[in-house]
């Protein structure tokens, strides 16, 4: 933890909202992107990430500096995500409209990466949109827990033990959930195992 960060934390613990928002600036992209893939909806992601930050601000006095600030914040994020009831509702229609009806006036949307594109980029960007939609749909087929476990493992790089601690369950449960999440994602994204032109395995077939 840098000195500046510790100073900001100290100020935030004294009730300084401006100091806390400066602190939030360092991690807000990370939190928002995770929220976006968890909720699969830009508006929900905005609400959820704000909720995480607000909860963190309210609990900032409980931060003792024993662990890194982000580790502490991540636990709040996990709890907030799991309690976010609306995350269960799959609202792919909104995602679709957000992805396809995006124009220069709709800059509030989190998926506004398609702005000011050149004619050359149109086709490429269209493919990207299709890809994003496909992945978001695939994520929608996971349970909220599987989705969060997968995101924490794959994007946050947390260990099985860390996730198990955050979820208050065994590492075996996390491992199983992760395995199922990967299998489902692979099926939904249409990445089936391709037959290889190799000698078939003679020993121990599935």
């Amino acid at each position: 933890m840098s000195l500046n960060e510790s100073q900001l934390i100290e100020s935030a613990q004294g009730g300084d909202a401006e100091a806390f928002s400066q602190l939030a600036r360092r991690f807000e992209r990370r939190i928002y992107t995770l929220a976006l893939h968890y909720t699969r909806n830009a508006a929900d992601a905005e609400d959820l990430s704000q909720e995480v930050w607000l909860k963190a601000f309210r609990a900032i006095n409980s931060f003792r500096g024993n662990a890194a600030f982000y580790t502490w914040l991540r636990q709040i994020m996990v709890n907030t995500f799991l309690n976010h009831k609306r995350a269960e509702t799959v609202r792919m229609e909104e995602v679709r409209s957000a992805a396809f009806e995006n124009d220069s006036t709709n800059v509030d949307d989190g998926l506004s990466f398609m702005l000011n594109e050149t004619p050359y980029q149109v086709e490429e960007d269209y493919e990207r949109r299709i890809l994003v939609e496909k992945v978001m749909q695939a994520l929608g087929h996971l349970s909220s827990q599987q989705r969060l476990i997968f995101l924490l493992k794959h994007r946050e790089g947390m260990t099985y033990e860390e996730i198990a601690k955050a979820f208050d369950c065994s590492t075996g449960t996390i491992k199983k959930a992760l395995f199922r999440a990967v299998q489902k994602l692979r099926e939904q994204m249409g990445v089936a195992p391709a037959p290889l032109e190799l000698a078939q395995c003679g020993a121990g077939q599935k």
Binding site: A24, Y32, Q50, L185, C201
Partner: protein, 225 residues
Amino acid sequence: MHDCSLVENKMVDLIFSELSEDESLRLKNEIDRCSDCLSEYRSMNGAMRVFDEAWDASLPDQRFWPRHHEALRQHLADNAPRVSVDRVPFWKQLLTFKLPVPVPVAALIVIALLTLTALALRNRTIAPNLTIAARPSYETMTPPTVKEVPVYLEKVITRTVYVEKKAQEKNASRSKSSDQQRIAQPLTASKEKEGDIFMRAKLTDFQPPDQMRIRVIKRSKDDAN
């Protein structure tokens, strides 16, 4: 012996870098030797690659972040908790207060406290026994007995009696009447109004009853026996 299902289970560990370097190498060699496992592994890796591509593609535009931050800043400012609310209350500070005490001192304090507690408990157990012993047992008491004992009491009664003069004179002139008549007159004379017509009577012949019957209820430890 190669087992595809076992390898598949470990594949997740391999993909998410949960295996040590040696284990990873060993598993990769085993996967390479089996076409099914290799196909599975490549498929899983491919899915992760597609996911990562989509992740990058889904990230918001750079212009999104200043607005996002401003909205967050505003949200925090609007909902900022009051400092006093989050301050640790006094009773919590008392509960979490720590005073470093050397181990021997702490041990002595503990022993002293235990001794005092033991003494207090001992006194508490003895005291009720004493009070119980001093208190008479009503259940074992015999009922009180009544005995009549003769009591002789001598009492001198003096009384001043006034009688009417005329009546006295009349009485004097008359022959001496009976004792009973003399006694009756002063008793009635005392009720008359005072004045010259009254004179002091003598009670020399007044005979109060010399015996009284008094019932005394007395009880002692010996009576009970």
